[in-house]
Amino acid sequence: MSTNFGSKRIVVGAHYGSRDWLSQRVTALLMALFTLVLVVQVLMPGQMGYYKWAGIFSAQWMKVLTFVVIVALALHAWVGMRDIWMDYVKPVGLRLALQVFSIVWLLGCAGWAVQVIWRL
């Protein structure tokens, strides 16, 4: 990778999708683990209500973990939505517009979710 530019740039090969493939699986594992961590805490003894729910997310380690998962979700959904647009939308202009929409949509959602955890 260190000399993959200029005249040394590799323009052929079969590895262009493997990074996306791997990142989609790594982010999926992170989200699955987060789901388990959250379910275990929700099922802990105690009446479910605002204080128990907010208590789960008020721990700093949980905020950090949730933040990582929000970023993972945005990346994961980007790879998936990009696949969908590439499979079904052939006109280049429309595909570009939908891809830009996906990025804006995901970045906006991620920013909002991060705000929610860190003003708690």
Binding site: A28, A32, Y50, A77, G80, C109, A113
Partner: protein, 142 residues
Amino acid sequence: MADTLKERPVYRNIHVSQIVAYRLPPAGIVSILHRVSGAAMFLLLPFVIWLFDNSLTSEISFDRFASVFSAGLGFLPGWFIKLVCLGLIWAYLHHFIAGVRHLWMDMTHSVSKEQGHSSAVITLAASLLLTVALGAKLFGLF
């Protein structure tokens, strides 16, 4: 030469109007539903974060979050919100289990025709059963 060229069949991607005519195996159904559930969750992401926001920000917003399921949201009635959430629950469960199926296939190379069939049936059954169970809880049946 020109005549034979004219008669050559042309195969293109499945058109939307042909979808119903294609009978998919269970693995194919899991695959397309994996995509459909992912796209649905992508589109409903702002709604999920709105719920997350209201459930966490304060006791007052928590009450607003809880009342959405009975009093509704804007012009949308409570049962409709519950139905949307049931759809989200199914989408999450299906996407989760189908994703675990993918990881299991990647790690154990369980990619024979029989394994693909049985794991697809298990995925469909598990996601639907869990959806029914959580849906019963959501609609207050237990």
